[in-house]
Symmetry: C2
Subunit: 141 residues, 2 copies
DNA sequence: CCTTGACCCTCCCCTTACTGGAAGGTCTAT
DNA sequence: ATAGACCTTCCAGTAAGGGGAGGGTCAAGG
C-alpha cells in the first residue's frame, strides 16, 4: 500500500507518516523498482494505534513506549496503566495551572471598564504589581 | 545597567532578554567601548511588563501588542480588555479539551486491571476502537 | 603586573511534532 | 505525448527559548 492510502487509512497526514518513519516508529518496506514506501496491514494498524494514542494526548515519546508494549506479547498490563495514570496526573496539573490563569485574567478583566479612556487597570496591573487587587499566579510550565 | 542585572531585576533569564531584543521587543543602548548592552530603567520596566504578561499566559505576539499599548498613551482601555477576554476564551477551550482527555483516559484506566497479565484493555482500546467502552474524544489542537 | 573568576559577546544547534514548499521522478489515463 | 495525481528527498520554518563553544572584558587579589 502506498503512503497516501496508508495515511488515509490511519487518519494521519502523509507528512506525519513519513515523520514517524524518520523517527523510527513505523518502518515500511520499499517497492523494489520505484523506491515507493510499501505499507503492510500491520504497519497501518500501528499507524492507527499511534493516531489514537496521540489523539488522547500522549507525547510521541510515550507513544513509542505504548507501541512497543503493543507489539510485545510479554508486556504487563500494569506497565500500560502506569503510563495512562502518569498522563492523567500531568493533565490534572495543566488543568490546575490553566484554572489559575483563568482566575487571574478574569479578575483583571472585571477590574477594567474596557471603555475608550487610556486608563487601564489591566495595563497597570501588568506594569506594577503593587496595583494588583488579587494574587498574580505564575505559570511554572 | 548590564544585561545580567536587567535580567535579575525583571525576573527573566539573560537568554530570554537577548531573545526579546532579537525579536524587537526591547532594544537596549550599547556601551560605546565594549559593546555591552546597556538597559535603562524604562527598558527594565518593559522587560518586567513582558515577564508578567508571559506569566499570565499571553503568547509573545500578544505580549508585543500589549507592550505597544502600554507604551502608547493614545491606547483605549477596550483594546487591552479585548486581548484579555480573547485569552480567557482560549483558556476555556483548552480547559474543555483537557477535561475531555482526562475523562477518556480515566475511563481507560478504570477499565484496566493493571496487573501482571498481558491482556490490556487500554492497549486494545488504542488498537481497535470497536473495543472502546466509551467515546474517544479527539483533541483538535 | 598577572591571574582568576565572573561577566559579556556572537553564533550555532537542540527541543516538539509536525507543516510547507522546491525540485524532480513515476504512474495512469486520455 | 501529455496532464494530473501520485511519489521521492531535502531544506526551512514554527514557539520560546536553552545549552554550549569560542572568545573578549572587567574588577579584585596576590
Amino acid at each position: 500500500m502506498n503512503i497516501g492510502q496508508a495515511a488515509t487509512n490511519s487518519g494521519l497526514a502523509t507528512k506525519t507518516v513519513r515523520y514517524y518513519e524518520e523517527i523510527g516508529l513505523v518502518k515500511p518496506a520499499r517497492c523494489a523498482n520505484n523506491d515507493y514506501r510499501d505499507y503492510s496491514a500491520v504497519d497501518v494498524e500501528h499507524l492507527r494505534f499511534l493516531q489514537r494514542a496521540r489523539a488522547v494526548g500522549f507525547s510521541l515519546e510515550v507513544c513509542r513506549e505504548l507501541l512497543e508494549l503493543y507489539r510485545n506479547p510479554e508486556r504487563r498490563c500494569s506497565q500500560v496503566k502506569t503510563l495512562v495514570l502518569d498522563k492523567i496526573q500531568q493533565i490534572e496539573q495543566q488543568l490546575h495551572q490553566l484554572s489559575e490563569l483563568k482566575f487571574t485574567l478574569t479578575a483583571m478583566a472585571e477590574s477594567c471598564p474596557g471603555d475608550n479612556s487610556s486608563d487601564c487597570t489591566i495595563i497597570e496591573t501588568l506594569a506594577k504589581p503593587a496595583f494588583m487587587p488579587f494574587t498574580l499566579v505564575e505559570s511554572s510550565s
